[in-house]
């Protein structure tokens, strides 16, 4: 059984990972690699790159198109699903020795801990990462770096809820007046929600979710969907969802408004990494480099509504500055340890 053998591999490698961690024999990150004409040539020969990602599809496709525009003759195919689905897909494909993915991006940073431990990531440090990225946003061994950051936030539809009536905190969502009016995404699908559920259960306790589950929430899958359901007017309030989709919708003129909960907004960090067995290794590295350029990072800010940790990027005027927002602390290691328990607990409370 492939998934079983994968599980065994995982268990085995957990032990290995711990040993490696205990004894300081970790390889240092390889030196930064600027994009050389030879790399571009080799990538063009391969002609394509496949990016598994959990970024909301239109944003991901914009990144892909920008890459294609810069490097003509290299087609970038986006394979988008929820981060937890992407994780399962790679596990399932790799167990059957299917190596279809070149570069992977996940909204659940814990996945990179597992992938690195499994040894399926290639060390590759783009020049921008080496030169500009803060230490806490790059893997010391050079296998990944933070492609994007954002928050999981509360939101409401401004046609259905007056600003003064809107919830200000997670605790406010438990008010009976919101029963049947809340939409919420799923941690079994979305890495954003998995990460957020970890941080919230840590900071607020599972009691919060127990009470929220009694509010007859509409359960959708992707963290990109609650903002879209708000915009349609399908539900008045969202209990969680992507800040960046809210920016996009709001700036397009849709009747949605963001609430940064007083308890703090769960902070989500989404790394990008190259696979060791990438079918298009050169195009993969070229794409990885492109992803961290100021041009791409500015694109995901301006078009995508995302936050960037690249110091050469500028925040878009009109959006609340990232530094001013009260955030919950991210902890990929904690998510990694608790992911299965979180999914089980969540399913028990919300029934799906």
């Amino acid at each position: 059984m492939p998934s079983l053998s994968r599980r065994e591999v995982l268990q085995g490698s957990t032990a290995l990972g711990l040993t490696v961690f205990a004894t300081p024999i970790r390889a240092a990150a390889p030196p930064a690699e600027p994009v050389s004409p030879a790399l571009v040539e080799a990538a063009k020969k391969e002609g394509k790159v496949v990016w598994y990602t959990s970024v909301d599809l239109p944003v991901a496709e914009r990144v892909a198109k920008a890459f294609e525009a810069k490097y003509s003759d290299i087609a970038c195919r986006v394979e988008r699903s929820g981060a937890e689905r992407v994780f399962q897909r790679i596990g399932q494909e790799y167990a059957s020795r299917i190596h279809a993915v070149d570069v992977v991006q996940s909204s659940d940073a814990a996945h990179f801990i597992v992938w690195k431990r499994d040894g399926i990531l290639a060390p590759y440090v783009p020049e921008d990462v080496a030169k500009h990225y803060p230490v806490e946003h790059r893997d010391p061994d050079g296998t990944f770096a933070t492609f994007r950051a954002w928050l999981s936030v509360i939101g409401y539809n401004t046609n259905l809820v007056k600003a003064e009536d809107a919830p200000k905190s997670f605790a406010d969502l438990l008010d009976p007046k919101w029963a049947g009016k809340i939409v919420k995404a799923h941690p079994g699908y979305s890495g954003t929600i998995m990460t957020a559920t970890f941080q919230m259960s840590r900071d607020l306790g599972w009691g919060y979710f127990e009470k929220l589950a009694k509010q007859r929430v509409m359960q959708v899958q992707s963290s990109a969907d609650p903002p879209k359901k708000l915009a349609l007017g399908e539900r008045a309030v969202m209990a969680d969802g992507n800040e960046y989709n809210m920016f996009q919708l709001k700036e397009k003129g849709d009747p949605v408004e963001i609430v940064y909960p007083t308890e703090g907004s769960p902070l989500i960090v989404g790394p990008n990494g190259v696979l060791k067995d990438a079918p298009n290794p050169n195009a993969a590295r070229l794409f990885q480099s492109f992803c961290f350029t100021p041009e791409c990072q500015q694109l995901i800010i301006d078009v995508g509504g995302l936050r960037s940790v690249h110091p050469l990027t500028k925040e878009k005027p009109g959006r609340k500055a990232f530094a001013e927002i009260k955030k919950m602390k991210d902890d990929p290691t904690g998510v990694e340890k608790n992911a299965e328990a979180i999914k089980a607990h969540y399913t028990q409370l919300f029934h799906v």
């Binding site: 599809l57 496709e61 914009r62 299917i98 699908y189 929430v217 959708v220 992707s222 990109a224 399908e234």
Partner: protein
């Protein structure tokens, strides 16, 4: 059976050495299609992670509410849908087959349209229509009645909503069976009743209804099975409402961390229930329920409805609003509207969705290509296998033909998602690693299409009397010449119809594909399901319309060919 070769043995003897290889070859192919995955399924359900024999999986299945609740829900859905389908489809079938209601052909064509509409697409369209707050119907309701913002007429995210949408795309099965049965009831029987003094109602009660009842019963069973094994509609509508059905539960067991042994165990109740119901159908109805012969003894008498016929037509129109007119309208509207659930107006009309699907969405081309390749291959391979097996069984050409007939019909008892799980377990491990290739999907699609394709072609062979072939042979033609000059031309229409039927089935298949796809082997149905999970309704509408256009092009092509549209057709779940 082994000695039952009659007088024609003389010219068959030349081929007798071929019959065993043919039998073994095709039996092997059919085994690979059906026996292998089911064996793995049973094996996994009976073992634990370490491979030791255990009943633990079934114990959990029978005691854990996480599994019992979906099973109960599934049965409620299946029974309700089945009853609803019969209540709707039986009178409609009668109106179309036995009355002088106008536009009967059009109604049949429209029912065919709902027949080939992918149920998951219908479910998404109904989200656009009847989501409690944003749904178009609920918006209209509030505008018309002045009801406050949070009141609604319909809530599609509910048990009733799931039953409703499933019934919308399941009732055609009952309709087709009933209408065709009524078509076939010879007018003479009713005439006889009338001549003997029976009035219309007495004739209906004593003659027409009893003759049509088996078909209705068969329809009820088919509807039950469809509703029970459907994946797409409950996944789209039940999960937001916070409940699972068996199919969505099985699928969720494949999410990380995958629990294939539980998925296998959870698949078996569906399989057992399906087999039991098909046995029951077989016992009650005999073999007629499977094959349909076109021979009409006399034209059925049409009941004049008088002015009531317009009322009847009106009612049918209202019924058909639900599976066809409203959902198609909702999809078309969403494709061109900036906000999926706002009516298109000069203020919000957009071509963005079309542009996105064709020029930005990088999987569109791949998914279209895969779907097309799989459609053509599955239709060709499936028709070829069904043709050979149909020929062999209809002409009893080789010993052991019954084995082939059984194997070709057996997949009808395997729900798509169960087959998907079985194939996944069979072909993700060495030596047969087909996972990640189009082959595994091809196997799934051919298997799913086989029973209906086989029955269509087998009955087509039966209609061609062997005398025609014998005459040709006696006049000196070789067997090949006979096939080429006599049999093939007579069967051509059936073969093309079967081909088209499989092709359409592949396009709408979701339940097996959702388990078996990889990023490189994505098909349109899976892409649409993906997009639904991230709420990209505009893109779905465009892809859905493309899907419908391709489907209707193929159906129209098939309908140009006489002989298509027999009641033997059983489209499978999506």
């Amino acid at each position: 059976m082994t000695i039952a070769l009659p007088a024609r043995t003389d010219f068959r003897s030349r081929r007798i050495d071929l019959s065993w290889p043919v039998l073994i070859g095709f039996a092997a192919v059919l085994c690979v299609l059906i026996i292998l995955p089911l064996s793995w399924l049973v094996y996994y359900s009976l073992t634990d992670r370490a491979g030791a024999l255990t009943l633990e999986n079934f114990r959990r299945l029978a005691t854990d509410p996480v599994f019992i609740d979906p099973l109960v829900t599934t049965i409620i859905i299946a029974v309700s849908s089945s009853v609803a389908c019969c209540l709707l489809a039986a009178p409609m079938g009668w109106l179309v087959a036995r009355t002088d209601m106008p536009f009967r052909r059009t109604v049949r064509a429209l029912v065919t349209a709902s027949f080939v509409t992918p149920p998951f697409l219908g479910a998404i369209a109904w989200e656009l229509l009847a989501a409690p707050n944003s749904g178009l119907i609920n918006q209209a309701f509030r505008v018309l009645t002045g009801a406050p913002q949070d009141e609604y007429l319909l809530n599609i995210y509910s048990l009733a909503g799931v039953i409703f949408v499933i019934s919308c795309y399941t009732f055609p099965y009952v309709f087709v069976l009933v209408a065709n049965a009524l078509d076939r009831i010879p007018g003479e029987l009713e005439d006889a009743s009338a001549i003997l003094g029976g009035r219309a109602w007495l004739t209906a009660r004593r003659v027409t209804i009893p003759l049509a009842l088996p078909a209705l019963l068969a329809g009820a069973l088919v509807a039950f099975l469809q509703a029970m094994t459907l994946f797409g509609s409950p996944a789209i509508l039940a999960l937001p409402a916070g409940f699972h059905t068996m199919t969505t539960k099985i699928w969720s067991l494949f999410q990380y961390p995958p629990k294939p042994e539980l998925a296998a165990a959870a698949s078996l109740p569906l399989l057992v229930l399906t087999v039991a119901l098909l046995r029951a159908e077989h016992v009650i109805l005999g073999r007629r329920s499977y094959s349909v012969l076109g021979g009409k003894q006399g034209d059925p008498r049409l009941v004049p409805l008088g002015p009531l016929k317009w009322v009847a037509l009106g009612v049918i129109f209202v019924v058909l609003l639900n599976p066809i007119f409203l959902p198609y309208f909702a999809l078309l509207n969403a494709a061109f509207s900036r906000v999926a659930t706002q009516l298109v107006s000069p203020g919000n009309i957009t071509l963005h969705n079309i542009e996105f699907v064709f020029f930005e969405l990088s999987t569109t081309k791949l998914a279209l290509k895969n779907t097309f390749i799989l459609g053509v291959l599955a239709a060709t391979v499936g028709t070829a296998i069904a043709l050979v097996v149909g020929y062999v069984t209809a002409r009893k050409a080789i010993t052991g033909y019954r084995v082939l007939a059984f194997l070709a019909t057996a997949p009808v008892a395997v729900p798509g998602i169960v087959l998907g799980v079985g194939l996944f377990l069979s072909y993700t491990r060495p030596p047969f690693v087909l996972y990640g290739t189009l082959w595994i999907l091809l196997i799934a699609f051919v298997t799913i299409a086989m029973p209906a394709a086989y029955q269509q072609l087998q009955s087509a062979f039966r209609v061609v009397h062997p005398d025609l072939e014998d005459a040709s042979r006696i006049l000196g033609a070789t067997r090949l010449q006979t096939l080429g000059r006599i049999t093939a031309p007579l069967l051509r229409t059936s073969v093309i119809a079967t081909w088209c039927f499989i092709f359409v089935g592949v396009i709408r298949e979701l339940s097996a594909a959702i388990i078996l796809f990889t990023s490189e082997t994505k098909v349109i149905s899976v892409l649409i399901f993906d997009l639904n999970e991230s709420g990209d309704l505009g893109a779905i509408s465009v892809l859905g319309i493309i899907m419908l256009v391709i489907t209707f092009a193929v159906v129209v092509l098939a309908n140009r060919i006489p002989g298509f549209g027999g009641a033997g057709i059983r489209l499978r779940n999506a």
